[in-house]
């Protein structure tokens, strides 16, 4: 591919004696819709943590927009354009929904309060949380919290958005809603990595899918091919 947006090469991560990631290499093109699947404990979130900077990988390199980012702390990577949502929502509980979005606006985009509030409301409207804008984050339902996670990541105006199981527990129509948002973000030029267990969402959304198992990539390709792959099926069913 022409210069990849994100290049992960030979990344490994160990926790004591346990190997969470083993020589993982991925290249993601600008504007791509990329799916990451794998059974629980396969290392998906660990990989995301290494890319976003929440964890330091032990070996290998990670390049974003041609630049090595391995040594950068997470907040720098966010400022360079990598945003992520958390699998288990981590809202700023003492703040309102709107204020939650103001944090990335202030610290990543550096907008003045008035402009930031306007743009934040735009995002909330787009994602369906506008009526809860002034509610405290700790009053939201699980589903609303997941939407807030996504909204907060969007507020950082990323080049690369990593959505970590944003659709877990959502109803069919809610999944469609979120997919529509992700598609429209992608249409604006944002590269998206989607981690999901909901296979039909991954199939509909991704142009390319990678499957992880026990810290290793076991296959990579078009969604239909991946799902039909016997090794992937074995990984999920556990043999």
């Amino acid at each position: 591919m022409a210069a990849p947006l994100l290049k992960v090469q030979g990344v490994s991560k160990h926790f004591g004696g346990f190997t969470a990631l083993s020589e993982v290499s991925i290249a993601i093109a600008p504007g791509e819709r990329f799916g990451l699947i794998g059974p629980n404990g396969s290392g998906k979130t660990t990989l995301i943590n290494c890319i976003s900077g929440s964890l330091r990988h032990d070996s290998g390199s990670i390049e974003f927009q041609g630049e090595e980012i391995s040594g950068l702390p997470a907040y720098r990577r966010t400022r360079k354009g990598i945003a992520r949502s958390f699998q288990i929502p981590r809202p700023f509980r003492s703040m309102s929904v709107l204020e939650n979005l103001l944090v990335p606006y202030e610290y990543v985009v550096h907008l003045k309060q008035a402009d930031a509030e306007q743009q934040a409301m735009e995002i909330l409207r787009r994602i369906g949380l506008a009526d809860k804008a002034h509610a405290l984050a700790n009053q939201l339902s699980q589903v609303e919290l997941r939407k807030l996670e996504l909204a907060r990541a969007m507020a950082a105006k990323p080049r690369l958005l990593i959505s970590d199981e944003a659709m877990a527990g959502l109803s069919g129509s809610e999944v469609d809603e979120v997919l529509k948002i992700l598609f429209s973000l992608n249409a604006e030029g944002i590269t998206i990595i989607m981690i999901e267990h909901i296979m039909q969402a991954v199939m509909r959304f991704s142009q390319r899918v990678v499957c992880l198992d026990a810290g290793k990539i076991i296959c990579e390709g078009a969604p239909a091919a991946i799902v039909a792959n016997p090794e992937v099926q074995r990984a999920y069913l556990g043999a």
Partner: protein, 291 residues
């Protein structure tokens, strides 16, 4: 500053005994903080409480070690109470309560200290036993019997706890709950009950540690403060959750303190633990054997 190889060797011997004592005193914290992640800064205060109860029981003629053992069940129950309270009030509520949990234990330590002052005064208290006061002579070196007794009890304690954690079902469940709570739940075990049990054991052990404390030297209510340094130093240096590491770390601290004591005198010795702790936190916060 006095220096000679003879003195150095004696300091080393004393340091080994002292180190094992520190390991035994810290092992409860290794479980409650190292494994269970409870910010138990009141651990030394509970131990000092154990010392004072030992003092009271010794006043009735009980040998201090026997008194310590007798206190263990009561302290076990106390531990369960404290953990239950901590869990219901703080741990369940998530990270926003973390500051409050810490403040709670700080307040608890403080209340214990002041209660002891009110009950016993600020003067030092000691106990008497046949092995306190005399020393074993090995050639040119003298090893105080009370240190040897503490050393012996310490080894037994550390050993039994390590075996318990690695060989018995409950023990392994305790180690498991530290590493992978969801998996434990899937196995049908109740993590809260296990943690409660573990905390009870850690507190029960503190009773015996308290008895050793008053055997090794006089105690006073404010002693818990310097022991915060020593116990956390040992636990952090060992690496959170490592029992065998506790022994190694205890030895390192004991020897370091003993040498500083010999070279610079008693006023600098308490600062050694804190200084070592800061160094470890600065260069290798996961400790020697930590995960």
């Amino acid at each position: 500053m006095v220096f000679s190889f003879d003195l150095l060797f004696e300091a080393l011997l004393f340091g080994v005994l002292l180190g094992c004592f520190y390991a035994a005193v810290s092992i409860g914290l290794s479980v409650s903080f190292g494994l269970l992640d409870v910010p138990h800064v009141a651990h030394p205060a509970v131990m000092v409480l154990g010392s004072y109860f030992t003092y009271v029981l010794a006043g009735y003629g009980l040998d201090p070690i026997v008194a310590g053992v007798v206190l263990m069940p009561a302290f076990f129950a106390l531990g369960i109470l404290i953990y239950r309270f901590y869990y219901e009030t703080f741990e369940k509520r998530g990270s926003e309560a973390a500051v409050r949990g810490l403040a709670f234990f700080f307040g608890l330590a403080f209340i214990i200290e002041v209660a002891l002052i009110l009950g016993f005064g600020v003067d030092q208290r000691t106990v008497h036993a046949t092995y306190i006061g005399s020393s074993l002579s090995l050639g040119d070196y003298r090893l105080p019997y009370r240190m040897l007794v503490a050393f012996g009890v310490a080894l037994v304690l550390t050993f039994s706890l390590t075996i318990y954690l690695s060989r018995t079902f409950t023990g392994r469940a305790i180690k498991a709950v530290a590493q992978d709570e969801p998996a434990l739940r899937l196995m049908g075990a109740n993590p809260v009950a296990i943690k409660q049990w573990a905390f009870g054991i850690a507190t029960g052990v503190s009773a015996l540690a308290g008895a050793m404390l008053i055997i090794v030297g006089p105690v006073e209510p404010a002693m818990d403060r310097v022991y915060i340094g020593r116990t956390f130093c040992v636990v952090v240096l060992a690496g959170l959750g490592s029992m065998t590491g506790t022994l190694a770390a205890g030895l390192i601290l004991g020897i370091a303190e003993s040498i500083v004591l010999m070279m610079f005198g008693a006023s600098w010795a308490p600062a050694v633990a804190f200084g070592l702790l800061l160094v470890v936190l600065g260069i290798r916060p996961q400790g020697l054997f930590g995960r």
